[in-house]
Subunit: 409 residues, 2 copies
């Protein structure tokens, strides 16, 4: 890496105070996989009875640890579980050797913690295509085991960072018939971010009691409107992983009809997703793209992503240029149904264009002033139907080029 | 515009010497549509008997002049024809006013030159969404008429430039049964370049005798493997237009079985397409992406475009970083069939990866040395079938951000 990028100007003021999730214990260590002088490996121990759910990248070249997690995730077990994550090396496109690394690590974690290998989930994030020095990780397992603590979630958030400029955490509590369950999670990711799902690792923990199929359905459904609606650069990682663990330690049961729990989980997922965008490589603006009036929801998302991924739209925003013509261009190229003469475009509350042309009320000065905000809301009504979607992205700046033109060297 | 970008380092050494195409006469003028102190409008007069063919952007928000050309292009006429093009303003997303501008311009050109309005084709290129001051163009028609000359094609290539850093021209001659027909063309375009087709205007002229349906079929077919295989930033213009005019003045007939003519036309189209990539905004590397071994040709093109459009691949090339892991990522995310363990990747003649991992012969030093070249060849064999495709792109640099973050301001 070519030095550490400066803190994103869109970073939250502080890392949130995360509650302990009873039974979920964390530890971190310096394994020296690639980075020196910082923690680069985290271990989570989850108690007997923990329910695991997850979603993963759909990349055709996904990494060995993703494939391993996917094989294991649906199984129901009452035994303890563990999650081990390293940063600095993604163990992706490392062939048979990569598969063997995952086997060696999961076997060693199982031995160290005295739980079955089928309950050990791993992730690796960092450079693609270099052999993972898994011996350095395995050498730290005893130290990690000894350090496990319910208070270690923030340190875990830091240990999994790569090009991230700030650690990402979020939490909420949900009232279930007068009793509270807690949800807390951490994430990493700042580049190679796009649907399916994002170059991201996300780990969320709750003390609720949830059956595996119920938790899996919730996570899969919520993923579509949260992590699958953010994009930094349209590139998709080979390693994207989100694991959600319900430790069942609160004794409070959640079912598929627990709307409050679903909302709480959505809040944490969306907050973490937004934090990833706020840490988009080189980002200086947080951009919400709302599309309404499309022929259907799928068309709306196609339009929204076409706008959010357009380099010309993203560079205009970087330049604080209210260049709405590029939004028209992005709608036009998306492939979804659109009619030039029924488009309506707003920047925040400012009506910019309607009926196929700039609005008579619109002034370039108003647009330019609006574009100086850190948070930009673009609203496009297609004028054809009832389809709607919202996606979130950031601008495309010199910072993105600087970070990515010399990453790895 | 925020100043003139410096000449692309990938520019050809000189503008080619274009042959006169008998009967095709050119003129340029300073209409002051937006730019001052340079020609910004070109007029072409084509003799009676000229055959016109064309391909156009498929954007759903295409401009009024594109729609007007599309209506006119298929008609067969023995009367003279004209092409009028302005730079600085695209007359796109200008509503009813834009349609009226096209009507006024084509009517005025028809009156000035004494030919039917149905034979007047126009293009406009530049900023979207601002009213076209067509009176400034119409005021120059008499001057343009008086200046028409068979020698004016190079000046025409300069008059249609926007963010281009060099004018683009190409020519060839084709032996048809011992006699030569000539093909010569000009193009503009450097950003908003992507299939369907590219932010481009292309005008090609030949003195061959060709029937309209034959010429149209040739142009449509050749477009797929030339202009529709280049990409700078994946953004698609609302104004893309290619017009091909056969003046019939050589008396030499070309039919659908004239392989030599097809090849000649392909040569000129591909050369112009490559020049557009070489002038890609901020480009410092000319990149050819060859994909073979895909399940079919469509999959091969999907993979090739996924690689060519990936910001992470393009920034790695800008940084002269042989980061082949990002190529694996781009193949994985494309949506077309791929198998991690059957991929083979070459940089030029250097075998980089095979069988799901880096090749034992590959060295980082060899890759890094190769990446210092101005022209980079990436070859990916998917290892599944016989599908193949080649696309061309450039790297993504600070120059792209600089040009696009302050264009218009």
């Amino acid at each position: 890496m070519g030095g550490t990028p400066p803190l994103s100007p869109l970073a939250p003021a502080a890392f949130p105070k995360l509650p302990a999730i009873k039974g979920a214990r964390f530890a971190t260590a310096q394994a020296g996989v690639k980075y020196k002088g910082r923690d680069d490996v985290m271990l989570v121990h989850l108690p007997a009875g923990t329910t695991m759910a997850g979603v993963f990248t759909r990349s055709a070249t996904r990494s060995a640890c993703v494939l391993d997690c996917q094989e294991k995730i649906g199984a129901v077990s009452d035994l303890p579980a563990a999650i081990l994550v390293n940063s600095g090396n993604s163990n992706a496109f490392t062939g048979k050797n990569g598969v063997e690394s995952v086997e060696r690590i999961t076997s060693a974690v199982a031995d160290e913690l005295g739980l079955p290998q089928e309950r050990v989930f791993t992730s690796s994030t960092g450079v693609i295509g270099q052999p993972l020095p898994d011996d350095r990780i395995r050498a730290k397992l005893s130290e990690l085991h000894g350090a496990l603590s319910e208070d270690g979630m923030e340190a875990a958030a830091r240990a999994i960072m790569t090009t991230d400029t700030f650690p990402k955490g979020s939490e909420t509590k949900v009232d279930i018939d007068g009793q509270f369950v807690h949800i807390a999670g951490i994430a990493k990711g700042s580049g190679m971010i796009a649907p399916d799902m994002a170059t991201m690792l996300v780990y969320i923990f709750t003390d609720a009691v949830v059956d595996q199929p119920v938790l899996q359905d919730m996570v899969s459904a919520l993923n579509e409107s949260t992590f699958n609606c953010i994009t930094v650069d349209s590139d998709t990682s080979t390693s994207d992983t989100m694991l959600v663990a319900a430790t069942n330690t609160s004794g409070i049961r959640v079912t598929e009809s627990s709307v409050g729990f679903m909302e709480g989980l959505r809040t944490v997922m969306l907050d973490l997703a937004h934090q990833v965008v706020r840490d988009g490589e080189g980002a200086t603006k947080f951009v919400s793209v709302h599309v309404t009036g499309a022929a259907n929801d799928a068309d709306a998302k196609t339009h929204a992503l076409s706008i959010a991924n357009s380099p010309l739209v993203k560079t205009a925003i970087a330049g604080e240029d209210p260049n709405w013509g590029r939004i028209v261009m992005a709608v036009g190229k998306s492939g979804a149904a659109a009619d030039r003469d029924t488009l309506t475009i707003h920047f925040g509350d400012i009506l910019v264009a309607e009926n196929g042309w700039v609005s008579p009320e619109y002034t370039e000065e108003a647009g330019a002033t609006y574009m100086k905000n850190d948070a930009i809301d673009i609203h496009v009504d297609i004028g054809l139907g009832g389809g709607a979607a919202t996606v979130w992205t950031c601008d495309l700046t010199h910072g993105y080029i600087s970070i990515n033109a010399d990453y790895r060297s």
